[in-house]
């Protein structure tokens, strides 16, 4: 049963995108302020993908994510306070500080973890999709992965098995044109990752990943097919990340041009969407601003929560290894 594009759905998508953007910008700042240890891979620029897909999903539907996972968790319903606490390495974080950015997760909302292994998600999502079918639910599993990840053998094996068993899995390729600092043309001889779908007996669809409505519609179709037992889809969303591969300014490498970045920013997914909302009189400028303001207030409170939370005790090291 596909969700139809009502005003409330549009507002929902918008809210998710804003929440991701604001969270990520704050996270970037906090990292630069030395508050967040480790590696941070920001999702800014790609918000339309997570939001356009996730609006179709319930907490019983699962997703797998990547190293660039905050956006997925936010769009899936993750709470800012527990997320920031995790990024800070605090005991109150979603993973009690054991996972951090690269393993942030919340199984209660069906988010099976960010993953530090490129290509780590597809086999797990395939397994979750199998589980959904095996347990005779109508749930789907959505697997987010990058253009770079599409070259891992794990993607191939998972896609083949999903196609073979007609599993309710949507392989959402977030093609941002780069795997770290390597442009797509230097990591694969194809332009559309979706061209691989035919090899697994599933449809391959390409959409504009900066256009949340396009993502929403294509994802809706794929998810409806999956829920109907018609098997997986490979949905490729062409998108772009605004910040560097890791952190905000990264290593200062010149692997892409300012012009290219500027060109993509002209089609910023949130600005595009907000113009549309205003043009179509679905939300006023003030209403839009209110979403941003509420989000920022929630972030302030979440930062407060994270900063005032305790670090885990050393004794926690040996806990949670086994059930």
């Amino acid at each position: 049963m596909a969700v139809t594009l009502t005003d409330s759905v549009l507002k929902d998508i918008h809210r998710r995108m804003v929440r991701i953007r604001r969270f990520e910008e704050t996270a970037g700042k906090m990292m630069e302020n030395g508050k967040i240890p480790g590696a941070l891979h920001l999702y800014v620029g790609e918000e339309a993908v997570a939001s356009g897909v996730m609006v179709h999903l319930s907490n019983q539907d699962q997703i797998t994510s990547t190293h660039r996972g905050h956006g997925h968790l936010i769009a899936k319903g993750g709470a800012f306070d527990r997320m920031f606490a995790e990024l800070y390495g605090k005991a109150t974080g979603y993973c009690k500080g054991k996972g951090g950015s690269m393993h942030i997760s919340n199984l209660e909302v069906g988010m099976l973890g960010a993953n530090g292994i490129v290509g780590g998600g597809p086999p797990i999502a395939m397994g979750a999709g199998f589980s959904n079918k095996f347990r005779k639910t109508k749930n789907v599993a959505c697997c987010f992965f990058g253009d770079g990840a599409s070259n891992e053998g794990s993607f191939h094996e998972a896609a083949n098995m999903a196609g073979l068993y007609k599993l309710p899995v949507i392989f959402v390729c977030e093609n941002n044109g780069y795997g770290e600092y390597t442009p797509q043309r230097n990591h694969q001889a194809i332009v559309d990752v979706a061209d691989r779908a035919a090899g697994y007996g599933m449809p391959g669809v390409v959409v504009d990943g900066m256009d949340a409505v396009a993502v929403y519609e294509a994802a809706g179709e794929a998810i409806a097919r999956a829920r109907a037992g018609e098997g997986p889809t490979l949905l490729e969303c062409k998108t772009y990340r605004y910040y560097d591969h890791v952190g905000v300014r990264g290593m200062g490498l010149t692997y892409r041009t300012d012009d290219e970045l500027a060109e993509w920013k002209k089609r910023d997914p949130i600005e595009l969407f907000e113009s549309r909302l205003q043009e179509q009189k679905i939300m006023s400028a003030a209403e839009i601003k209110a979403v941003h303001d509420e989000t920022l207030a929630e972030i302030d409170a979440a930062i407060q929560f994270a900063e005032s939370s305790p670090f885990p005790d050393a004794s926690a090291i040996l806990e949670d290894v086994y059930a």
Partner: protein, 337 residues
């Protein structure tokens, strides 16, 4: 501490082969646990290349016992994803040698997911796999790689030396809420032994005194347990009355049982089929000398395979795999007999 030698069981015992015992165990698991399924290469239609799963697809249906593509990373991933979302997968990894194909899925996902998520994921996944040399299957189908798993927090490892243990360990593994590897041995497939009917468990983390003895301790697992028993008989001629202990699981490891024995016997040896260098024997030997230093009359000895891949030719392989004679030779060298 170690279990008594003759494990008393309520059920009537019969004689079954190792393969039949595995088959029975998996059948019980499928009966007991509605969310369990068996997935692996050729486990469905063919019933497994060694027949472990014979008849199970017919009995439980192709939804619950099914063939996978030749995709080991995908297969373990199926276990991780399904295990984390309400299923209790039983995954067949045909040969232990193929762990290389799925080691990321094992080491970085299966073993770590629970910990990385702060204890908020549970992975009741059983992996059955087959180790061992002796069948002239050469370097890529004969390895004993349990050391890779033992160094990996988050998984448990059981080594099934006979039909009784194979059945009991598989049932324990499947009832456990953690990833558990049950390592089988290809040279034991036709071995017969008493196996009670119905469900019983061999507890994970409890060693078994396979042969009681008074003045020497041999710790071994998997098929080597039988070579150690044979060696113990031969050692009688040298005044050695060896106690043979099979830890049965390497993680959790019943070290107290080993230490208790060594404190009594003062001399000991670890025997495994894996390459000696860097093998798990090193861990046990180290712990023994740490925990029973003052009780040792001789260094802890170790017997394992030499430092080479497994050779194909039977003429080489028979010298490669440890056996009763090489164990006896090791004891004699250790004690200067």
């Amino acid at each position: 501490m170690a279990e008594a030698v003759a494990t008393p069981v309520a059920n009537k015992a019969r004689t079954l082969t190792y393969v039949a015992a595995i088959n029975e165990a998996v059948r019980i698991v499928l009966q007991e646990q509605p969310n369990s399924f068996v997935a692996g290469e050729d486990v469905g239609g063919a019933g497994g290349v060694y027949g472990y799963y014979h008849g199970l697809q017919k009995e439980f249906g192709a939804d619950r016992v099914f063939d996978t593509p030749i995709s080991e990373e995908g297969i373990i991933g199926l276990g991780v994803g399904a295990g984390a979302t309400g299923c209790r997968p039983v995954i067949d990894l045909m040969f232990m040698d193929f762990m290389g194909e799925c080691m990321d899925e094992i080491a970085n996902q299966l073993a770590k997911m629970r910990y990385m998520f702060g204890g908020r994921a549970t992975l009741p996944v059983t992996v059955l796999t087959m180790a061992g040399a002796g069948a002239s299957l050469a370097a890529q189908h004969s390895q004993s790689l349990e050391a890779w798993l033992c160094h990996l927090p988050g998984v448990k490892i059981a080594m099934a030396c006979d039909p009784y243990d194979a059945k009991g360990l598989i049932i324990s593994a499947a009832r456990d809420d953690n990833p558990v590897f049950v390592v089988l041995n290809k040279m034991s497939l036709a071995m017969k032994g008493e196996v009670p009917e119905g469900a019983y468990t061999v507890p994970l983390g409890k060693a078994k005194i396979v042969r009681p003895g008074t003045n020497y301790t041999i710790v071994s697992w998997g098929r080597m347990v039988h070579e150690c028993k044979a060696a113990a008989e031969k050692l009688k001629a040298f005044g050695i009355d060896a106690e043979v202990i099979d830890p049965r699981t390497l993680q959790p490891l019943d070290l107290p049982a080993v230490i208790q024995s060594v404190k009594k016997t003062h001399r000991c040896m670890i025997v495994h089929e894996a390459v000696r260098f860097g093998g798990f024997g090193g861990e046990i030997a180290s712990q023994i000398q740490e925990l029973a230093f003052d009780y040792l009359d001789a260094p802890v000895a170790r017997v394992g395979a030499p430092f080479s891949p497994v050779p194909f030719s039977p003429a080489l392989e028979k010298h490669y795999v440890p056996n009763a004679d090489s164990i006896v030779a090791g004891v004699k060298a250790q004690l200067g007999l």
